[in-house]
């Protein structure tokens, strides 16, 4: 697939997450630590999913079995991370900077943890494929699509963003005891993973449209959970000359 495809697809899949990291996370050491810790939790969930898949020998070729249990493990570890964060909150509050609301702080950490989950999940999805992509050849010989790499990259991007959104919704839902949102996260994760099973039948366009629709829906819910409204959206896009200076008095 050559170097050009390698870079093009890396930019496509990891562009937004890297932008998010660089602009919102990199400047704060606590956020970096939370992100790495959450990535580690995702890794452990992957380990358990692999062990389960490995143990159940007869079902190794049945994708859906491994897939469903992997989703459950990931959500379980998201829960564990939530518990960990709440327990550590007191200590974290002492070391964070004072210029953010506590609520915002909670949501920011939820966002950071979601992004950590997403980045590690994306890395495992795509890095293996990208490594082969740098060689001189391309997929095609056995009838596969020649857009395999691009489609993989797009799917990976979708999942990274979805994990980020799910993190925000999930933590906020557990804080405020809104059960339907918790169920939504688990259900939509299952839904998206099962949609990708359609890739076995070369229905690439269908899968991509499906997962991106779920992404948009999840994005809307996240926006609302994070405190946005239609009005705030409108106001954000309006050009405002810097007449009023916001002074934070907290």
């Amino acid at each position: 697939m050559t170097i050009m495809e390698f870079f093009g697809c890396s930019f496509l899949a990891f562009g937004p997450p890297v932008a998010m990291f660089a602009i919102t996370i990199a400047k704060d050491p606590i956020r970096i630590i939370i992100m790495i810790a959450s990535a580690f939790f995702w890794l452990v969930s992957l380990l358990l999913s692999s062990i389960l898949w490995f143990i159940v020998i007869p079902l190794r070729n049945v994708l859906i079995f491994g897939l469903v249990f992997s989703v459950f493990f990931q959500e379980l570890f998201r829960f564990f991370f939530y518990v960990l964060l709440r327990k550590a909150e007191f200590g974290l509050r002492r070391v964070t900077e004072e210029d953010t609301h506590i609520n915002n702080n909670r949501q920011v950490l939820a966002y950071v943890s979601g992004l950590g989950f997403g980045l590690m999940s994306g890395a495992f999805s795509l890095v293996d494929v990208l490594a082969d992509a740098a060689g001189p050849g391309t997929m095609d010989l056995n009838g596969g699509s020649e857009y395999f790499l691009v489609i993989s990259a797009a799917t990976t991007l979708c999942f990274i963003l979805l994990h980020t959104f799910w993190g925000v919704i999930y933590f906020s839902a557990l804080d405020r005891r809104v059960i339907w949102q918790v169920v939504y996260v688990i259900a939509s994760h299952l839904l998206v993973s099962c949609i990708t099973l359609l890739n076995q039948y070369q229905q690439y366009v269908l899968t991509l449209i499906g997962i991106y629709l779920v992404l948009i829906a999840t994005g809307v819910i996240t926006f609302k959970v994070a405190g946005g409204t239609f009005n705030s959206l409108k106001r954000g896009f309006m050009w405002r000359p810097a007449a009023s200076i916001n002074v934070s008095a907290e």
Binding site: T2, F11, L12, N104
Partner: protein, 489 residues
């Protein structure tokens, strides 16, 4: 963007080497290297030689006539070095002449008074005279033949004359006339004059056209190595050119049967204007002149080299190794392939098939058949001047042949001399790089349009995502109002 994938092929043919022969040879032989690696191998093979009569201590000065030709050629293509005009023509003429002399042995033996004929086939001449320079070096150190054989060593002073057969062909033939052959001599002396005169006297009978070369020095032939060692070395080279080559495809893959105009004549006798007849006549003239030189009287018999024998010899070296002569000269241990022998000399630790086959051919044509069985057919400690070879023989039933034929190393002294000055150019220093395996793989690769689309889309998307994230971040206060129901601090 929707153009299809392209077929691509990637070949790896890596050859290990280093700067030049001196450097790569030194690096290959570094003993204190934890990771020994061969960079290059010296080129070479073996020379083939034989003597008409077994040599002994009674050999006099200036008694040996050397009949020489080269065994090798080169070309730019691996495994394709036919060398029809540059090598094979001279080689088969030398073989046929030597075979004729062997048939004349009964008449020659009482009259020879110590004289002898040595057939010498030099290998590696295409690469700065590897074989002939090595022979001269060995002779000057008393190492030819090797000391362990109780044969007295040959040195240059014992050579009465060297007759070399170089490029021979009918390329220069003008219609109706016989193609000319040129005689190049190293110096004027009575022996050489006698030889040339003897050759020319046979021109009419044998339909030859022999001319003296008008060049002022000898051409690039193996004689050069001998003249380098001894400026008064007596030698004659017989070629088809005078002052410059007539062979436009010298050392080329196109120096093949078509250039030599050789057509194998299966069953019938070759036509009288064919190259077989031409070279047969030359061999006959040569054999008789050498006879006259040794016996000091002209040859009065009727034995000659027949064009049919030339036909078979040329067929073996130019068309197929699986020919009747090589078949008779070998035994069941050999499998003879159908293609002609490539005559590239190669590296000295890998011996060429054509060298061994030529040696066996000499044994077949000129050796003495013995009654030994196959198990007894090996080197006899009491008779180290002869080799014993088991072969199918002319009858095909298997016979043990006794022959004076032997081999000598044809690898440049430069690699054996301690502290040799590589810049001196005294000996050949040709080496060949070591191959590191050869791989080819075929695969599909994306079209250029596809690649360009992906990289540009990806880059644009990257920049776009940075802009969007930055925008959201900057406006985050406005986008994400603090949620009152979340509670305070």
């Amino acid at each position: 963007m929707t153009t299809r994938s392209l077929c691509a092929m990637e070949m790896q043919a890596f050859m290990i080497a280093a700067k030049d022969s001196e450097t790569c040879f030194r690096r290959s032989n570094m003993i204190n290297n934890l990771n020994p690696m061969r960079f290059c191998d010296p080129m070479g093979d073996r020379n083939v030689w034989a003597t008409l009569f077994a040599r002994d201590a009674s050999e006099q000065e200036k008694s040996v006539i050397v009949l020489a030709a080269r065994l090798d050629t080169t070309s730019m293509f691996e495994g394709e070095a036919p060398g029809a005009v540059s090598t094979v023509a001279g080689l088969v003429t030398a073989l046929a002449t030597y075979s004729l002399l062997s048939e004349m042995k009964t008449e020659l033996s009482p009259a020879r008074s110590g004289g002898n004929v040595m057939l010498m086939l030099f290998n590696g001449e295409a690469y700065d005279y590897i074989g002939s320079s090595r022979l001269v070096y060995d002779m000057s150190n008393g190492m030819f033949p090797p000391k362990w054989s109780n044969v007295p060593s040959l040195n240059i002073s014992k050579i009465r004359m060297m007759i070399e057969l170089n490029q021979l062909s009918q390329i220069n033939q003008s219609t109706g006339a016989v193609a000319p052959m040129y005689l190049h001599k190293t110096l004027d002396n009575p022996d050489i004059a006698k030889f040339i005169q003897s050759m020319k006297s046979q021109q009419a009978d044998l339909n030859l056209n022999l001319l003296d070369s008008t060049a002022t020095s000898i051409p690039p032939v193996s004689l050069q190595s001998f003249v380098k060692a001894d400026a008064n070395f007596p030698g004659v080279a017989i070629t088809d050119y005078d002052q410059s080559f007539t062979n436009k495809f010298y050392h080329s893959v196109l120096d093949d049967v078509k250039l030599l105009k050789f057509k194998y004549s299966n069953g019938t006798a070759p036509p009288s204007d064919s190259i077989q007849a031409y070279l047969a006549n030359l061999s006959t003239a040569l054999g008789r002149s050498i006879y006259e030189l040794i016996a000091q009287k002209p040859y009065t018999g009727t034995t000659k080299v027949e064009p049919t024998q030339m036909n078979e010899l040329l067929h073996c070296y130019l068309n197929s190794l699986n020919c009747s002569l090589f078949h008779s000269a070998t035994n069941d241990d050999f499998t003879l392939p159908e293609y002609p022998p490539p005559l590239y000399v190669g590296v000295s630790n890998s011996l060429n098939a054509v060298t061994g086959l030529s040696g066996r051919l000499i044994a077949l044509l000129t050796g003495a058949e013995t009654n030994s069985s196959k198990e007894e057919c090996k080197l006899n400690e009491s008779d180290v001047t002869h080799q014993y070879l088991w072969m199918r023989g002319k009858m095909g039933a298997g016979v043990c042949v006794q022959t004076t034929m032997n081999y000598s190393t044809a690898s440049s002294p430069a690699f054996d001399i301690e502290g040799y000055n590589w810049k001196s150019g005294q000996y050949s220093t040709w080496t060949e790089s070591v191959w590191k395996g050869f791989e080819v793989r075929i695969f599909l690769k994306p079209s250029y349009g596809h690649e360009a689309f992906v990289i540009s889309f990806g880059s644009v998307f990257l920049v776009f995502s940075f802009i969007v994230v930055f925008f959201i971040y900057k406006q985050s206060d406005i986008f994400f109002e603090p949620n009152i129901s979340n509670g305070g601090c």
